[in-house]
């Protein structure tokens, strides 16, 4: 740099100076744009992340409940918890869905209602004993798959009102369907499309086989190794047979595809077609333009309907590719039409602890666990941390010993959090014999983790208070401790609190140190104190993300939203405190 300045002073003409200035401005602009770009990119990622979480999480805040006519006349109001609610719920389901009368149908109907319905009804009756002895509609949660369907997250049916009259041969069993116009044509074309894609899949497999076959043929022809030739010959025969089988299948598919008007038998790998006719539902099994064969799912009241009075329901997702069958779709749609199903705020999610059924799982147990843990963490780390900072900053002599302490505190802040968990296991659980999975121990471990953060932040805040304040206090005769506690500490408090809250927010999101002390656990009961087994919010998120049931995916996102909410709240408090008490010198 000095070189350029020298040349500039000595020889630069006006022209050169201008171009130099231009260059400087250009690089300044470039830097500005780069910075802006960096912010935009990170904002973009943040928005994407938040959108996915919110998009996934929002559905979990509501849930679908079904009203069942439950006969509670046999419940003894004196001992409401003793009754056999499982039986009541079973017979109520049979009453609400009478058209599913055979054993398989009853099972299917029961599968649409949450497995925890009986427990839920019991809790409702125990909470409101006046329900006992009554015969009333009780709301219970639907099963997780039914809920996913009702929220449009599994199969999305397309409803149309075709412009043709319909005639069905019977009200139940296997039926023939005839139409006055060829409205099934469009659906038939879709079926042919799936046949076509099946054919192309088969084609790639055949091409692969052909490749291996050529390979083996070459080995058989050219290899010197007699053993290899023999095994190649064997695989050639088997491959040829396989290929021939595929070829016949492929040809048959092509014939079916090309014959666009030919009747098709539907199987579970093809789109589904349900007809809502005369108060019932028919599932189509064979289809062509104007007529079809079908199977009645819900019995019909009338065998005929004119144009506009019946509906066609297409589900493009093949039945084998979704976890919600056509029959279930028909029954749930019927329940909706009857006004039995209602989508409302998922109170269970906010009131209950963990559960293995997605529809019964709640976040409250984890929130309470996190609360107790944070209280312990705050109570231990704040006074200790601030006291340590005051001593080190204001009272301790500057010598080798204190600088070793300083270095160690800074190092501690960078220690991986799992190490604190191991320490907690060895000291708090094994030596002090404290209970496993308790918020007390969790809070103590997290306090160890938060301490360095608080000490470092507090020392920085104390250091930022101008020495003139101390000197003035000492000058008018205050003792050192008075100067610190009456004058320096209050001025440093906003900084200390900000550091503490950031440290606490960090502790709130921590799971690793809790793993070793047993707080990564399945805890159903909401903890009532610091000795009860508990889990915390991030652990709950981690466990829900790991459960196989698809219903837990929304729960995971919703729990993340709750955790983020708390974190934003805590950080907002930190900002507010700083804004309110900040002093400038």
């Amino acid at each position: 740099m000095t070189d350029t300045t020298n040349t500039y002073v000595k020889t630069a003409s006006l022209e050169e100076r201008r171009s130099l200035q231009k260059k400087r401005y250009a690089s300044e602009r470039k830097f500005k744009y780069l910075g802006l770009g960096a912010i935009l990119v990170s904002l973009g990622f943040l928005v994407m992340l938040l959108m996915t979480i919110v998009g996934n999480g929002i559905p979990a805040f509501t849930y679908n409940y079904v009203k069942l006519p439950i006969d509670l006349t046999k419940v003894d109001p004196e001992k409401p918890e003793k009754a056999n609610y499982g039986k009541f719920v079973k017979s109520a389901i049979a009453d609400a869905i009478p058209y599913m009368s055979d054993r398989k149908g009853k099972r299917l109907a029961r599968g649409l209602v949450s497995g925890g319905a009986a427990i839920d009804v019991r809790n409702q009756v125990v909470g409101d004993v006046s329900m006992a002895g009554q015969n009333a509609d009780v709301e219970v949660p639907v099963s997780d798959f039914a809920d996913l369907y009702l929220k449009g997250l599994t199969a999305k049916p397309i409803l149309t009102k075709p412009d043709a009259a319909i005639k069905v041969s019977d009200v139940e069993g296997d039926v023939d369907v005839t139409l006055s116009a060829a409205v099934f044509d469009e659906f038939l074309a879709r079926v042919k499309e799936t046949i076509s894609s099946e054919a192309s899949r088969l084609n790639t497999r055949m091409a692969n086989l052909q490749l291996s076959l050529d390979n083996q043929r070459e080995i058989a022809a050219n290899s010197q190794d007699t053993l290899a030739v023999e095994s190649a010959k064997k695989s050639i025969t088997s491959l040829e047979a396989q290929l021939a089988g595929f070829k016949t299948k492929f040809d048959a598919l092509i014939v079916r595809r090309n014959n666009t008007a030919a009747r098709e038998v539907l199987d579970t790998s093809m789109p589904s077609l349900l007809l809502k006719v005369g108060g019932g539902v028919v599932k189509i099994t064979e289809v062509e333009g104007m007529s079809a064969k079908g199977e009645v799912i819900i019995p019909l009241e009338q065998k005929e309907a004119s144009a506009g009075e019946w509906q066609m329901q297409e589900i493009l997702e093949a039945e084998e590719n979704r976890k919600f069958s056509d029959k279930e779709v028909a029954v749930v749609d019927r329940l909706v039409a009857e006004g039995r199903i209602e989508n409302r705020l998922n109170t269970i999610f906010f009131k209950k602890g963990a559960s293995r059924e997605p529809e019964l799982a709640g976040i409250w147990g984890a929130v309470v666990g996190s609360f107790f843990t944070m209280i312990i963490t705050l109570a231990l780390s704040f006074p200790l941390g601030v006291a340590a900072a005051i001593y080190l900053e204001e009272f301790a002599p500057k010598n080798k010993f204190t600088s070793i302490i300083e270095v160690n505190i800074n190092n501690l802040a960078a220690v991986p959090s799992i190490v604190f968990g191991l320490l907690g296991l060895a000291v708090f659980l094994n030596f002090f014999e404290l209970p496993r999975s308790a918020p007390l121990v969790g809070g103590m471990v997290l306090a160890l983790m938060t301490l360095p953060t608080i000490i470092i932040a507090s020392r920085a805040a104390l250091k930022a208070v101008p020495p003139s304040i101390r000197e003035a206090a000492l000058g008018v005769g205050a003792s050192k401790i008075q100067a610190v506690f009456h004058h320096v500490l209050p001025l440093a408090m906003p900084g200390i609190l900000t550091g503490t809250i950031i440290g606490m927010a960090q502790a709130l999101g921590e799971t690793a140190p809790l793993l070793m002390i047993g707080m990564v656990a399945f805890v159903v009961d909401v903890p009532a104190g610091i000795f009860d087994p508990a889990t915390v919010l991030p652990v709950q998120i981690y466990m829900w993300a790991d459960f196989p049931e698809p219903g837990f995916q929304q729960k995971t996102a919703a729990a993340i939203m709750v955790l983020l909410g708390f974190l934003i709240l805590m950080n907002a408090i930190a900002v507010l405190l700083r804004k309110k008490f900040e002093r400038r010198w």
Binding site: Q216, L434, P548, E549
Partner: protein
């Protein structure tokens, strides 16, 4: 000053919590640790048990089979867990550790779990034998001259021409997982036995054989995908050429997204695993600390709930969660000995 008062209060609270250290709580709640494979079943039973009885709901931790055994066998008393879950039988070493610390385990076999090799529904169908699985995934395989060479197979078709001609790419659990242990022991070792040169080696030197049979290749064809099986399923959906290794319960719950490969001609289905036809399956267990029965309330009742027909039977709620029940007569025998708290022998 206000702030000093607050500080004083907090310091007092801190003192209180540290003094609480002295008072150890007597426990009235069952503590369960152990295998992450049994975790979904154990938690289900714990929840039902808590709802049906007046006992507190047991706390279930997922520590892995080995970690659970270590905690379980560490001693007797409120500080140690009452029950440990395991996706394999207790090892002799662990049993000895238990005995040394005065712990008498009661063994309860609860059912089977199949391990599946699965891929996305729009990917190629796979019909494979255990021998082919070994060849595709082993670190070293016998070459044409019988000497061990680094695994040369790049595509499935290289292993056997009847397999699809796509790159071998398998997402599976890391070495810390019980699923990995079982997969290696049953699928890989079972496949290695079928290869003549290795079968001969097994007779000559069992340890050398095991070392070869248990080594999974590290050249990128096998990707350790972490313990989260949901993540594996998401990755399979995104990459239709990849295969994943996980427990049957995940295949069962995600049957709309992934398809299990046929092993030795048998499809990974509930009935096939229950009948023992599907070859890659293992038994699941839990172990009860006999010394805690009658001390920690509810253990006997918990075992009774677990071994109830409505729980672990063919139509029980655990079957809905993907547990493959034991055969009828075995279930009866296990239930009887478990409810009698008969100590196990090795």
């Amino acid at each position: 000053m206000k702030i000093t008062k607050i500080m004083g209060l907090l310091a007092g609270a801190a003192l209180l919590t540290t003094t609480a250290v002295g008072s150890v709580h007597a426990r009235d709640q069952i503590q369960i640790v152990g295998s992450s494979t049994v975790f979904p079943f154990s938690t289900s039973v714990a929840e039902q048990f808590g709802q049906k009885t007046s006992f507190k709901t047991p706390v279930v931790e997922s520590t892995g089979s080995g970690g659970g055994m270590k905690l379980f066998c560490s001693g007797v008393g409120a500080g140690s867990p009452d029950i440990t879950n395991a996706s394999r039988r207790i090892k002799e070493k662990e049993f000895k550790l238990c005995a040394d610390n005065g712990v008498t385990p009661v063994e309860v076999k609860i059912g089977f779990d199949g391990i599946v090799l699965a891929n996305a529904k729009n990917g190629p169908e796979l019909s494979i034998t255990r021998e082919q699985i070994f060849k595709a995934l082993a670190k070293e395989v016998p070459g044409s001259d019988g000497k061990m060479i680094a695994n040369p197979y790049k595509t499935w078709a290289d292993v056997d021409p009847s397999l699809p001609n796509i790159k071998i790419e398998v997402l599976g659990p890391p070495p810390t997982s019980g699923t990995r242990d079982a997969f290696v022991e049953i699928a890989m070792e079972g496949g290695a036995k079928k290869i003549e040169t290795l079968a001969a080696l097994r007779k000559a030197d069992k340890n050398a054989f095991k070392k070869i049979a248990h080594a999974i290749r590290e050249d990128g064809a096998y990707v350790e995908a972490g313990e989260n099986d949901n993540l594996i399923i998401q990755k399979l959906e995104a990459n239709s050429n990849a295969f994943g290794i996980f427990g049957f319960s995940f295949l069962d719950q995600n049957a709309d997204k992934v398809r299990g490969a046929t092993v030795n001609g048998v499809e990974p289905e509930f009935e096939n695993i229950a009948a023992g036809d599907y070859q890659i399956s293992r038994s699941l267990f839990f172990y009860v600390k006999k010394e805690h029965v009658g001390v920690i309330p509810g253990i006997e009742e918990f075992v009774a709930e677990f071994t109830n027909e409505d729980t672990w039977g063919e139509d029980g709620y655990l079957a809905d969660k993907g547990l493959i029940p034991l055969p009828d007569d075995e279930r009866e025998a296990v239930a009887e000995s478990a409810q009698a708290m008969a100590p196990m022998s090795f």
